[in-house]
Symmetry: C2
Subunit: 192 residues, 2 copies
């Protein structure tokens, strides 16, 4: 029961949350195969261009019934017309949900369940987005500044990245006439 203590943390600043326990950086090379225009990604990597796409700072916990609190920072940028995003995942434990609280910047939370039902919600300061059980979720930075949001989810929810890596999301978010636009993902594959 050593760690079963309350804590408080500050929001804002460089890391979005402080103090934190874990920092995870995701570079373009970690998202190989995720973007529509794979050839652009491969060309960049072959030139040793490997931009940082997003960082997660997290306060993880370990006991039954606990919550993790994480802060995700997605940097502004695009691969071709497609905005930078997080890999996206289902929770390994199906009956778990997640709550996002926007802190700065602007973006879209893309959600879909295993039947392909898809939802998109805007994330920005003073906005809460609720991800119910069974919905994969990806965050997309559609703005010109860092997108920063808080995520609260059960410590034991786990991550299934593999399904999304194989199927993609039904939709992607691209810039059209200077504006973020949701379009069908030509590479989406129904789960085999």
């Amino acid at each position: 029961m050593l760690d079963l203590e309350p804590y408080s943390a500050r929001l804002g600043g460089k890391t979005g949350i402080y103090p934190y326990k874990i920092k995870v950086d995701r570079y373009l090379s970690d998202l190989r195969g995720y973007f529509l225009e794979e050839q652009i990604v491969e060309e960049m990597l072959s030139r040793n261009e490997n931009p940082l796409i997003y960082t997660v700072y997290e306060i993880s916990r370990e006991f039954e019934g606990e919550f993790n609190v994480g802060c995700t920072i997605i940097y502004p940028g695009k691969i071709g017309d497609e905005y930078y995003f997080t890999k996206g995942h289902y929770h390994a434990k199906e009956q778990t949900s997640e709550v996002y609280v926007g802190l700065s910047g602007e973006g879209i939370i893309l959600m879909q369940n295993r039947e392909g039902r898809t939802f998109a919600e805007e994330i920005k300061p003073k906005t809460v987005v609720y991800i119910p059980p069974g919905f994969a979720h990806r965050s997309i930075n559609t703005g010109k500044t860092r997108l920063v949001f808080l995520a609260i989810y059960p410590s034991n929810s786990g991550h299934d990245y593999e399904t999304i890596m194989r199927t993609g999301f039904t939709k992607i978010v691209v810039e059209r006439d200077g504006k973020p636009t949701l379009i069908d993902n030509p590479k989406y594959r129904k789960k085999l």
Copy 2:
């Protein structure tokens, strides 16, 4: 599966969160027996003075593994030297936790477990407070404006108000020399 859909909600404004599903008002008469100076409460009520102490606006959900998202607004005020507070409760389901996100105003989150281990954390804008499993929690408005914060917790966590009603918290928060001060609660009773 009718209700198992994502949503987004706006933070701020009069209700703290919008849209919401449920509104609960707690007046002084609902907190009879909770404050240290019971005679002041009884005198006020006998004069038909029954101020609104706090309001909760909530988006409740109903399926396995879902989260409720609530916004609590505690109005500024005192009974004697003791600042307005929420009743405080344990979760009926022990292995559940809760996360608070401060939105406006300032206050204290008082937490204690069934062995009487007590913690106090400040709540204010850009602050997260984590309430681990097994900890009763009460929120106290120590400022001159509304204290507004977001609460995220499992939909099936339930409320045990009865234990705190019987024992009280180990500590209370009172004004001393114009400042909020944590003191031992003379009326605290170890659980019988």
